[in-house]
């Protein structure tokens, strides 16, 4: 990502055990100064544990954790100079908004007037100015979220750690806060680590996405790299919405096509050669599949259901496994119709059926 001096947080070969349970397995992660990193994965994948290890709320069993160049393995949370925004916000219920904001400053012995000034400055930027005397229970969900953010901002920490901060908000506010958090990050020039189970949040907010499963990092990189070139079936299925279609397949005898197992021996052309013999899985993104009006395409299937959101239509086929495709606007297709589906060769992802790893180019 960048050279050693620009690293804000670096983890090398980090492991975490809870008794016999191996929660984090050999985590290597470099977080550059000023970057926005999203840790994403299904629940129980270790993303929150990883974040809490950075904060010092969990100890790591082995490996090294560096923050701004200093080894922090056994340093207590208060000396790590990181700020964290919790899923439940964790506002102190017995303190007013102002007291919540200034708490960290007061602990550090900042003078009262100075702390008050800092709180007012932060509140002005986050739109909390009129709420300084209120208690958390008197605030709406969105306002609480802002207090939690402001409490982190006021300290100018080395990095911000977000633990699913938007999951308690309703959908509309979530989309709004997504932009706001990212704008805040850019304005402050901060370093942020953001845990979420929502791949859309990760894709839209982060510069660098880390996909985790069962304590290991499956893949990390720029959001669109993950979308374009997922290293395995798990990442391919996790990134993108609606999820990628997976169809069992074998290589065609010409070495440049796939025979899909959709009940009818459909043949799909590839832009690259592929080795025959091994069982494969074809990955087809719903948004890359197109209905061929001429009926000459490679895949002919019956439609089982059509769901329309107005802006786009989700068509599900009656095949086994079923195929989902997305078309823009309203679709003339109705359940029961036969449709012909095509896909551009460069959009076909191929995975090994056994190892589930991506197969890039195979000759011979």
């Amino acid at each position: 990502m960048s050279n050693q001096t620009d690293l804000q947080i670096a983890l090398t070969a980090v492991n975490k055990h809870y008794g016999a349970y191996h929660a984090l397995k050999n985590i290597d992660l470099r977080i550059a100064k000023g970057s926005f990193v999203a840790l994403v994965g299904p629940s129980g994948c270790g993303k929150s544990t990883l974040l809490r290890s950075m904060a010092g709320l969990e100890s790591i069993t082995s490996g090294d954790l560096f923050i701004a160049g200093e080894r922090m393995n056994n340093v207590p949370p208060r000396k790590r100079d990181l700020a964290m925004v919790f899923q439940s916000y964790a506002l102190y219920p017995h303190m007013t908004v102002e007291e919540n904001l200034t708490y960290s400053l007061r602990i550090r012995g900042v003078k009262k007037a100075e702390a008050k000034k800092a709180a007012e400055d932060v509140a002005a930027t986050t739109g909390l100015s009129g709420l300084m005397g209120r208690y958390p229970r008197e605030l709406s969900g969105g306002q609480r979220q802002r207090v939690a953010m402001s409490r982190a901002i006021i300290r100018h920490p080395k990095a911000f750690l977000f633990d699913e901060p938007l999951s308690n908000l309703d959908a509309a506010l979530r989309v709004h806060m997504r932009k706001e958090i990212r704008a805040l990050h850019d304005r402050l020039g901060a370093t942020s680590v953001y845990v979420t189970h929502d791949q859309i949040e990760a894709m839209t907010m982060a510069d660098h996405v880390v996909v985790m499963r069962q304590g290991i990092i499956e893949q990390q990189g720029a959001p669109l790299d993950l979308y374009d070139r997922p290293v395995n079936r798990f990442v391919a299925g996790f990134i993108g919405s609606p999820a990628m279609n997976f169809v069992p397949a074998v290589a065609g005898d010409d070495g440049r096509s796939l025979l899909l197992d959709l009940g009818d021996g459909q043949r799909l052309a590839l832009d690259r050669p592929i080795a025959a013999g091994r069982p494969l899985i074809a990955g087809l993104r719903p948004e890359h599949l197109v209905i061929d009006p001429t009926g000459a395409g490679p895949i002919r299937l019956r439609v089982a259901a059509v769901e329309s959101t107005g802006s786009s239509s989700y068509i599900t086929t009656a095949s086994k496994p079923e195929i989902v495709l997305v078309t823009n606007g309203r679709s003339p297709v109705a359940p029961g119709d036969m449709i012909t589906i095509g896909i551009a060769p460069q959009h076909v992802h191929v995975f090994d059926a056994e190892t589930e790893a991506r197969i890039e180019m195979l000759t011979g």
């Binding site: 709320l57 990181l82 439940s88 102190y92 219920p93 602990i107 409490r151 300290r155």
Partner: protein
């Protein structure tokens, strides 16, 4: 049966049960005000026809009740102080750490609560006399009551601590506080209500404690009101009005505390269950 009449029936049953339950208390107040002849009248009068208010000042003076009440207060306050000081930390640890040993500890604590005071007093008496604690009998009683009531306090306060989200403490740690600082700044203020209520309940228990005080305090100067009340009664007692006046003066402060704080006590006891 309609809903309204069903509610009325339930209310009537509740009133009758409350009346039965509270009758002895009522009888205590009424009898304390009766004159000698009214006390033994058949059938007994339900209302004091000619209330003898002078009986209260007479009993307070003649029995030196101020001293008894002071001793009760010293013992109750001392027990509460000791329990709150030692039990709060214990409850916190039991609330925050989960392991087999914590479960064992909790089980032992609950077991202690099952044993009655009259059973425990013999080993405690022997032990304390060997340690020389019986030379300071009020202190001995405070320690004994603290040991007896600690489980009750720990169980109550533990559930209070458990209702304080762990994330608040973690937020304080990340904000720059130490574990101890987070306990005093964040957890303790939020658990204050539960601690207060448990403390009051312990106070009321200790204020009325009898078995340990009776067994360990021989010196009448140091005896609490519960023992004083007991020594008032003999095999041939007939001054029931005086005894019940003593009892009234003894329990009224406790009742007053309970009535005044009733709402807080109930909400404190259920704070873990409700959000």
């Amino acid at each position: 049966m309609s809903d309204v009449s069903k509610h009325r029936l339930m209310l009537a049953i509740a009133c009758i049960l409350a009346a039965v339950y509270l009758f002895p208390l009522y009888w205590m107040y009424v009898t304390s005000l009766k004159s000698g002849s009214a006390m033994f009248a058949t059938p007994p009068g339900l209302f004091p026809v000619d209330p003898q208010w002078s009986v209260y000042s007479y009993v307070w003076e003649s029995r030196d009740m101020g001293r008894y009440m002071w001793n009760s207060l010293v013992i109750a306050a001392g027990s509460v102080a000791l329990i709150v000081l030692l039990g709060t930390g214990c409850s916190y640890v039991l609330a925050r750490y989960r392991s087999r040993w914590v479960d064992v500890g909790l089980f032992l604590i609950l077991m202690l609560q099952v044993l009655p005071a009259s059973l425990l007093i013999t080993p405690i008496f022997v032990g304390f006399s060997q340690l020389g604690l019986l030379n300071t009998p009020r202190t001995a009683v405070i320690i004994a009551i603290a040991a007896k009531s600690m489980p009750f306090y720990v169980v109550l306060v533990r559930s209070t601590f458990m209702s304080v989200p762990m994330e608040l403490e973690e937020a304080a740690l990340v904000d720059g506080n130490s574990r101890v600082g987070a306990f005093f700044n964040i957890v303790l203020p939020l658990a204050r209500n539960g601690i207060l209520v448990s403390g009051i309940l312990i106070f009321m228990q200790a204020f009325g404690e009898f078995v340990y005080s009776k067994s360990m305090i021989q010196n009448i100067e140091l005896q609490p009101a519960s023992v004083g009340l007991n020594s008032f009664m003999g095999p041939n007692t007939n001054e029931w009005n005086n005894i019940l006046a003593f009892a009234s003066m003894y329990v009224t402060p406790i009742l007053a505390i309970f009535v005044l704080l009733q709402r807080r006590i109930v909400s404190g006891l259920t704070s873990g269950a409700l959000k």
